[in-house]
């Protein structure tokens, strides 16, 4: 049997000097994965003046932070970040490498996987460590990479049994971010970076962040519409209901694709993951990708014309009916109760 490392690397993403939430979420998860292998978690922090971020990683479970600090690394750029990660992963061959499934993570992780010939699974909704038997062979401490696939009717567990390095990306909000009880002593290892010619082929001309006015993650009440609403006109009912309940408006991927709402309001595996007090799903069939983003809601109400819609399977309350009748009725009844 081959002897592999038992270390977990977590790529710590920073944008404009601020660490991304998803990276700390992954540290917490990485901590658990490492514990079940009796291993360690290393936070990989790349940027300019990122010492504070490196220190913060210990709060969330890091045993060691590897810091690559250089003015040229201030903002994410594919080539320099790739070459740094390629070198670290190539030399240290960690058992697991985790990235946020952000635009940065999805730009960087495939290159590192390609370079190190590692397996990579995108957008996992769960990660576990287990011994597995695959094609009659036994493998120890394998990372089970769980994700919905093929239109969401199927949940696939992906493994990379014969590779020393197992890599995965995970969406923001899927794993929980909780400070660890007994953080390890701060141990920072600095690694040198020397810019190469190929690192300079792409430069940032300008960067602008559009501060999103939408904060679905913090909303206690979310009213969410799907393709079942049929058209943009009917979708206004979702706004009406959200308005009267003091909630935020969201939608499924199908509603976004149909142009009913902007993509920043998409809930689900390829959108935002939310945990509101109340989630009202209107005209949403409930594909697994959508569920992945909302099933942790405290209470779920489903409104759908199809009594067989899968959304009812995870709802607390179900109303079978046409949204164009049910929502106005809901609004009117609620208004009367408030009087």
């Amino acid at each position: 049997m081959k002897i592999y490392s038992n270390e977990v690397f977590v790529f710590i993403e920073q944008r404009g000097g601020k660490p991304a939430d998803v990276s700390f979420e992954l540290l917490c998860k990485g901590r658990k994965l490492a514990d079940s292998m009796n291993g360690k978690v290393k936070a990989i922090v790349i940027g300019s003046n990122v010492e504070d971020i490196a220190k913060e990683t210990f709060k969330y479970g890091a045993n060691e932070a590897i810091v690559i600090d250089h003015p040229a690394l201030k903002d994410y750029l594919t080539m320099p970040y790739t070459s740094i990660m390629n070198k670290l992963v190539g030399e240290q061959s960690p058992r697991i490498v985790l990235f946020g499934a952000t635009i940065i993570g999805r730009d960087l992780a495939p290159r590192v996987a390609s370079n190190t010939k590692s397996g990579l699974t995108a957008d996992c909704t769960d990660l576990q460590i287990s011994d597995v038997t695959y094609l009659k062979e036994n493998f120890k401490n394998i990372l089970l990479q769980i994700r919905p696939a093929f239109g969401g009717n199927i949940i696939a567990t992906i493994i990379t049994p014969e590779n020393p390095v197992q890599m995965a990306t995970v969406r923001e909000g899927v794993m929980e971010k909780i400070a660890v009880k007994n953080p390890a002593e701060v141990k920072i290892t600095k690694v040198e970076y020397v810019p190469s010619e190929i690192d300079k082929l792409v430069e940032i001309v300008e960067q602008y962040r559009e501060e999103s006015k939408v904060n679905l993650k913090a909303a206690p009440i979310i009213v969410s519409g799907g393709y079942g609403l049929g058209n943009k006109e009917n979708f206004k009912l979702i706004y009406d209901l959200a308005h009267i309940l003091g909630g935020e408006v969201a939608g499924s991927r199908a509603a976004v694709d149909a142009g009913f709402i902007p993509s920043e309001r998409q809930v689900g595996q390829t959108g935002v993951t939310v945990r509101p007090k109340l989630y009202i799903a209107v005209g949403i069939s409930g594909a697994i990708q959508h569920r992945a983003g909302m099933q942790e809601a405290n209470k779920i109400i489903a409104i759908n014309t199809d009594p067989g819609a899968p959304i009812f399977g995870i709802s607390h309350y179900g109303i079978v009916g046409d949204a164009t009748q049910v929502i106005p009725m809901f609004i009117e009844t609620y208004k009367n109760k408030l009087k």
Partner: protein, 295 residues
């Protein structure tokens, strides 16, 4: 003049998939699904064609897939691609993104002479967005993913606006570069009627082989010659044509394995049924207010 290679993929239309179309090993049985041209790849092709329209040059569309993937190559020709290439071999079956990027990178080296490689950001069957960057890494090429707009192109420099987390940025890149494109980057042009007439009979090697199989008077070599001289031959490359390492292709070259597949249980659930009446909804609202969820 700028030459572009566009990586395109035929994908199963994932909107309607059930356990019935899965094979026992957990991979999808694509033969049973309607196959479509991946939307973002079409946008990538459109972007390449726009550059060609403005500056001249050549657009080559490349796909790796089964024989029937020649369908989307014909569509590329209808839209305006100058050349197409089908990379097809039974030995590629079961390839994950790593094995796919190996094959594509070798094919790109074979086509050569490019300023841009365009691809859709991701394909709807896996949504992984991995093949573009993995291919770029294999040929040591810079990349710009999530591209939304070409701001400026002159000499050997391109400025591209791309999405970033929570905003946008404009990158300036020296050519050659690999660019992955999101759907909003370009609305694919409709097929040109003239080009449809010209290319609707374009055939790949496999197409011609099955023609010859059905008719003893037809010979594959003669057909290839005839179709080539009429510019109707869709060139096909196999593992051997590309001199690939079999250990890096298909299942053998794929580190990721599907260990388990579970069909999602769609029915059931212990929810409270609320009647779609004023009384029913009134009762629900009362309960939610009581629980301090509403009000």
């Amino acid at each position: 003049m700028y030459n572009s290679i566009v990586l395109v993929k035929q994908v199963p239309d994932t909107a309607n998939i059930s356990g019935k179309v899965m094979k026992e090993d957990g991979t999808v049985n694509r033969a049973k699904l309607p196959a479509i041209f991946n939307h973002e790849d079409k946008s990538a092709l459109e972007l390449a064609l726009q550059i060609k329209d403005k500056f001249g040059g050549k657009v080559t569309a490349v796909t790796m897939g089964p024989a029937r993937a020649s369908d989307i190559l014909r569509e590329c020709l209808y839209m305006g691609a100058d050349e197409v290439l089908l990379i097809s071999d039974r030995k590629f079956a079961g390839a994950d993104t790593l094995a796919t990027s190996y094959v594509l990178s070798e094919a790109i080296k074979k086509v050569g002479d490019f300023d841009f490689i365009f691809a859709g950001r991701q394909a709807i069957d896996g949504d992984t967005a991995q093949v573009g960057p993995q291919t770029a890494e294999k040929i040591n090429l810079p990349q710009i993913t999530y591209a939304e707009e070409i701001i400026e192109l002159s000499g050997k420099t391109v400025k591209i606006k791309r999405k970033i987390d929570g905003g946008h940025e404009i990158l300036s890149a020296k050519l050659p570069v690999l660019v992955t494109v999101i759907k909003t980057a370009a609305e694919p042009r409709p097929f040109s009627a003239k080009r449809v007439m010209a290319y609707k009979n374009a055939k790949s090697l496999t197409d011609l082989e099955s023609m010859a199989e059905g008719n003893s008077l037809l010979y594959v070599d003669a057909l290839v010659h005839e179709y080539t001289s009429n510019s109707l031959f869709i060139p096909t490359m196999t593992m051997d044509d590309l001199k690939l390492d079999p250990a890096r292709c298909g299942v053998n070259g794929s580190p990721t394995k599907v260990f388990k597949v579970e069909s999602v249980v769609l029915a059931g659930g212990n929810h409270v049924t609320v009647e779609a009446t004023k009384e029913g909804i009134g009762g629900l609202i009362d309960k939610l207010m009581e629980d301090h969820i509403l009000g």
